[in-house]
Structures are given as C-alpha cells and as structure tokens.
Symmetry: C2
Subunit: 233 residues, 2 copies
C-alpha cells in the first residue's frame, strides 16, 4: 500500500472522477464536489492486497477509483464466500460507518487498484451539511438490502443450475443488443459467489451449452443464445 499525492493535487490523482462518479455524491454541485474531494485521500494497492480484514476497526468509506476489489466473508465454519465485486465508482465500508464499527468482511484488490478514502467524521460532517446525501445512501442501502434478500431466497430455494442461469441473464447489458457477457471474475470466484464449487460451475455451463442455450467463447466471455429458455427452466 502506498499513499498517493495528497489533496493538493487532487485533480491529477483522479479523485475528481472518483468522487463525481459515486451515486451518493453525483447530484451535488461542482463546488460541493470540490469540498468533498478536499476531504478525501488517495491510496494505491498492488494486486492481492487487503484493504481491510474482518475484525478491523471500521472508520472510513472506501471509493474505488481504478481497479477492482473483491469483498468476501468467511462463514462460521471458515468457508469463503464472495459477496460482491467493486468496480470504479463503487464503494465499501459504508456498513460499518453506522453500526458497531467492526468489519465482518474482507476487501481484497483483484488487480492494482487506487481508492479514495473518507473518514467517518468527515462523512458525518457531510451528512449533516448535505442531508440529500443521507437520502441517497438510504436509497442505495435499500437496493442493496433488496438485492441481498433476493440472493438469500435464491440460495435457499433454487438449484445451482437456476442460480447460474439467473446470474447469466442478469449480466446481459440491456442497452447493448449483443447478448455477449464478460464474466466479472474467474469461474472459481463465480462459484463462490453463487454458493457452489468450480467443478459444478464448469459442468453446468457445459450442460447449458449442450442444450444450445449459451456458447462459451474465450475465458470469461459467454454468448447467451436463448435468454427466454434460460430463464424458464
């Protein structure tokens, strides 16, 4: 981990784009964005470093500027599950900012990554100064919660094959008219994310391909041939 150029040269370090692309801030005026930027600091990580571990004191919001981060948990019996992948503009650490303040998950960079950090006190200041940020956060939390509960329901009621199919279907970009998707992670990680094993992922994708529903191209690239059939299984 290495500290970047500080707030004196924020525009060079990419903090502007970092902060301005975050949904909870991007409704603010430029001058307010400037203010927020002046409250952040920037840090770079090599691939494979941890930004925080479970149990760490939580005191900051981390916004991804460049790179990719894997958030995962360890279950009571020590097995790892990937909760979410962060791309530029996404953030993490927000949970612990409002509760008892210990991380329960791990944040690990998947590639070289630079992030912006806002400490809890500074965020609290912002929240009282710009109450709309709190509303944005509430919206985000709502969506995440809905998403998480949906995921829980899927895990408890759907077969692995259905979960994979749903994941693929939801990965299709509705704007693009191409039905090609790029997996945002390795199949090993996808297995963890979907609550199964790499072996099963491999087999089920092969099955779906045999059925003519998808076509696997180069690693990570999959074309959806029949979206409807994929979903009505």
């Amino acid at each position: 981990m290495k500290k970047d150029n500080q707030t004196s040269c924020i525009h060079h370090s990419g903090i502007l784009s970092c902060v301005s692309q975050v949904p909870i801030f991007n409704h603010l005026e430029p001058k307010h964005l400037d203010e927020i930027m002046s409250m952040t600091r920037s840090i770079s990580y090599e691939k494979g470093e941890h930004i925080y571990h479970a149990g760490d004191e939580s005191d900051s919001l981390y916004i991804v500027n460049k790179g990719r981060i894997r958030i995962y948990r360890l279950s009571e019996s020590g097995k790892e599950q990937i909760v979410r992948i962060l791309n530029p503009g996404d953030y993490t650490g927000e949970l612990a900012l409002f509760k008892k303040s210990q991380h329960e998950s791990y944040a690990e960079t998947m590639v070289n990554t630079s992030i912006c950090i806002i400490t809890r006190e500074k965020l609290q200041t912002l929240l009282t100064k710009y109450p709309t940020i709190a509303l944005k956060l509430l919206t985000e939390f709502s969506n995440r919660l809905e998403q998480s509960e949906k995921q829980t329901t899927r895990f408890s009621t759907e077969t692995v094959e259905t979960r994979i199919a749903l994941f693929l279907a939801e990965s299709v970009d509705p704007d693009s008219n191409s039905n090609e998707i790029i997996l945002p992670m390795s199949k090993k990680d996808l297995a963890s994310y979907l609550g199964t094993t790499p072996e099963t992922i491999s087999r089920k994708l092969a099955e779906l391909e045999e059925k003519g529903l998808i076509k696997q191209k180069l690693q990570k690239k999959i074309e959806i041939l029949d979206l409807d059939k994929l979903l009505m299984n």
Copy 2:
C-alpha cells in the same frame, strides 16, 4: 382489515406505545413523538390477512403495534421463503420507500394484528425535519444488510445442521440464565426461514437431541443443553 379509531384518540389505540418503541423514533422528545403519532393511522387485521403483496405499490411504512407478521418472498421458481418475522415495535415497508416503490415481498399477519401506518410523504417530511431519523434509519439498514449478507453466506457455505444450530444458539436470550428458547414460528415456517424442509428440521432436531445437545419440550420450546458443542460442529 378494519380502520381503527383515528388520530383523535391516538392514546387509546396504542399508537403511542407503537411509535415510541420504534428504534428510529425513540430518541425523540415526547412532543415530537406526539407529532409523529398525529401523522399515523392505525389498522387492524385478522390472522392470515395480507398487509401487502409483491407487486403492490409501496407508499407507506408499517409499524407493528400488536401481533405478529410474517414477511416472505417467492423465488423465481415460485417457492416461498420466509425472510423475517415482525414483532411489536418492528416495522416493514421501509425498503420500498426509497427505491422504485414496488414491494418484492409479502406481509401476512400470523395472528390478529394491529399496525400503524405512516405514508411516504409524511415520512419524507419527518426526515427533513428531524435529520437524526435518517441516521437511525441508516444504522438500522446497515444492521439488516450485514445480517442479510451473513445469512446469504450461511446458506451458501453451511450445512442445514449447522444453520439450525446457529439459529438455536442465536435464539438464546443472553440476559436470562435459562437456556430455554421459544421458537418464534412453527417448525414448518422455521424450515422455510432456514432454507430447508419440515422433514429435515424434524430429523436434525432429533439428531441434536440424540447427541445430547438440546432437549425438545412442548412444541416450540427447546432447551439448549450444550451451547458450545452445538456451535463447534
């Protein structure tokens, strides 16, 4: 469903106790609580009625005053999963207040139940007038999200037996020195909540009893005999 006495006789209808026991409000002064109460209305339901269905327009926060409510979801393939049980002081409907405004879950009363309702507009008014409510909400959402993600991880990495054991362990009241727990729902519902079937619940509880870790008393009542062993499985 039947509309209760309106706000003119709020103290008779139990709205006071209703609102004042809600975590997001209970830090406010009595006179502010009065104001909030004047913004609510009260409704009673018979056992088995639905307060809302998935797909319903969402426009209110529902606070349980008396009774018990079961929140459940239907998965893509139509199977039901219980998400949470609401007791007096708990609330629901908050998710849809900040997002696209359609319920994705079902709320069904388990017994005769009376609730208080605050509409979205009134809640928005409260949020801008008392920003601390937003902070309380953020805290609540954080906890729920953490909880939900933990649950997701358990579903994807733990065996049914472990999930049951964890549920039992977490149901023990740490204040009381008795290790007896009362299941908050039928075993059928518990099965749904834990992502399994009634048959498996029955079998696993029997197993745990054979191992001497628990003792089943009258329906719903279970004594934990060896909490440590229960958890280190």
